[in-house]
């Protein structure tokens, strides 16, 4: 199985009353495939795992698994409680294609050894699946060197597949990529630095803005491949503007989740502490995004493309 190209960090769809709405997941998956997305990263930061209960996280895992599509499924099972993480990994082991885990983020880890112990216990609960460590030091507080992690973890985690690397330390990223001739799949997770990851040989990306702007990123890649750097940089700065603009409306996570409805997949409201805006607010936002030329790069809704009577 190959895991490359754009992988969307997916939202947890909810009803208007804030309860989980897994009936949306099948359409969500088809929307992503339609926009050339190759996989989903569920129950992650974008998927609001910190405000979901354990059973809700399992419900999401199960719904994606049952949606049966051509998408590669990665389930994030990390948790401050190692036991919870192991439970989630065991649950996921016959439902998805890979698991990932973030470092415990309350009592933060300060050593690679501790991190390897944590990861190896989780990975062993789904030993049949590839395991990815989810490196996001800004949020997890585990600001550890990833090459050192790989060098130690490779001896202790037989199913270690790579890292979801969400950090702007491109030096560490580059070293991880080249370790053992690129044996490990280092998925790049910083959407705003997508272009910067290309010269380092990135082939797989996980991020939330692939829910919204996949055509823009494919275009950046094609400009890069053709050697047209100014044009690639221009489009990358548009992706950054998208994040900044949504962020300025009340916080990126909540605003971007609500934005999905306007692309054709209603993911419902966000949970605390994220913001939920009204349809009126989005009219203004879409106007502002259109004014800076972003509208043409939006992911296309299925209904928009499939012509109806």
């Amino acid at each position: 199985m190959t895991l490359k190209n754009l992988i969307a960090a997916v939202y947890a769809p909810m009803h208007e009353n804030g309860s989980l709405n897994t009936t949306r997941i099948k359409d969500y998956g088809q929307f992503l495939l339609h926009n050339d997305i190759s996989g989903v990263f569920m129950n992650g930061s974008t998927g609001d795992f910190t405000s979901l209960s354990i059973s809700e996280r399992k419900e999401i895992t199960s719904a994606w698994s049952k949606s049966k599509s051509g998408l590669y499924l990665i389930d994030h099972v990390g948790d401050p409680s190692l036991n919870v993480a192991k439970d989630l990994a065991t649950y996921a082991s016959d439902k998805v294609d890979a698991i990932a885990a973030i470092a415990p983020f309350y009592f933060r880890l300060n050593s690679v050894d501790k991190l390897v112990t944590y990861c190896s216990e989780i990975a062993a609960c789904a030993s049949n699946l590839p395991f990815y460590y989810y490196h996001i030091p800004v949020l997890s507080g585990a600001d550890l060197n990833m090459v050192s992690f790989l060098e130690k973890a490779r001896n202790e985690i037989p199913n270690l597949a790579g890292i979801k690397f969400t950090d702007n330390n491109l030096i560490d990223y580059g070293f991880c990529k080249s370790l053992e001739n690129g044996k490990y799949n280092i998925l790049f997770g910083y959407d705003e630095l997508f272009l910067n990851s290309l010269p380092l040989g990135a082939e797989g990306w996980v991020g939330s803005t692939y829910n919204h702007l996949a055509p823009l990123y494919y275009k950046i890649k094609s400009h890069f491949n053709n050697g047209d750097m100014p044009e690639a940089a221009k489009l990358q700065s548009m992706a950054i503007k998208f994040v900044q603009l949504l962020d300025s409306k009340g916080g990126f996570n909540g605003v971007a989740k609500g934005f999905m409805k306007h692309l054709g997949v209603d993911c419902g409201p966000s949970r605390f502490p994220h913001t939920t805006l009204t349809d009126e607010d989005y009219k203004v936002i879409i106007k502002e995004l259109t004014a800076i030329g972003l509208e043409k790069w939006f992911n296309k809704g299925i209904a928009q493309s499939v012509h109806t009577k």
């Binding site: 199985m1 099948k26 495939l33 339609h34 996989g39 049966k68 499924l73 094609s222 109806t308 009577k309």
Partner: protein
Amino acid sequence: MKYATLYKDTLLHDIIPFWETYSLDRKNGGYYTCLDTSGTIYDTDKFIWLQGRQAWTFSMLYNKVEQNEKWLDISKNGIDFLRKYGMNENGDFYFSVTNDGKPLVNAYNIFSDCFAAMAFSQYAIASGDVEVKALAKKVYTNILKRIDNPKGRFEKNMDTRPLIGFSLPMILSNLVLELENVLDPQEVEKTIDYSVNQVMNVFLDTETGLIFEHVLPNGEHHDSFNGRLLNPGHGIEAMWFMIDIGVRRKDQDLINKATETILHILKFSWDEKYGGIYYFMDSKGYPPQQLEWDQKLWWVHLETLVALSKSYQYTQNSAILKWYTKVHDYAWNHFSDPENGEWFGYLNRRGEVLLNLKGGKWKGCFHVPRAMYQCWKAFENIESNNNFK
């Protein structure tokens, strides 16, 4: 531009989005083709014919409609899968594999190889990939080697009644033009000569003007189920391959002969009671062996529309246009499903949907988009002529 616009819009805004949305397997590569009415996957096995055909379709669109990177990428998704999992140890293509590429049914069916070769050739043009180009040629050569015994060790018929089949010469006449960019010009001409002769002189019956599905090696008919069998859709599809060759060789006689044959077949195989073209018929009117003989199939009608539109483009024959309108109206009223996208594949004799599917073991992303494209282009030409109303 009434027809040209309809076919173009349906291709780009209905048919292609359907496959882009529901069929891609980004996890294992390749495509899911068993899709129900609304696009839900109901079976995950992969049939090599359909893997090759869908990869071909998306490269063809890239080459002929628009250099859309997404289409090239979708094609590559199938090309990579075929290269990785499609072939057995001899380089022959399996009939089917599991969704993750484990072989299910061995290489008894040479059409798997034909569609793989077509896909490789179109993809090589689109991508400039020289390895895939070389592979296209290799697969083609392999097909020719197997031409006299296509099923090889999987052939179950004994030698007692050595009937030969129409399918292979028919597909070769199209395959060779598809592979023109990878073959020597002499090879192309030789194969065209062979297939035109087979189709028009061996399988086309001078007495009835019909194409028989099986004949004896000397072209004589055999009075048996297979010897009497007619497959009207096949015959008509082959006629547009002949028209393509006629255009290429500036052979108006061939185009006219193909046009006559289309008219003969349609007259013989149109269901006067319920409308539509029968799937199988017995040339003597006996009960056909195929239990599904009276079903109405999507590809039969679409290939007929392609044949009629091309024939009309090059002959302006008014009988052809009359048939065109008749088949067009039947097909669009019975097979198309604008609400969910794509076309139904199988109707019963009365024209009611028999199977709630848009894709399956035999129906994938091929006949519908190819016909939409071909009819779009033919009518673009026809309708730009001021005399056409």
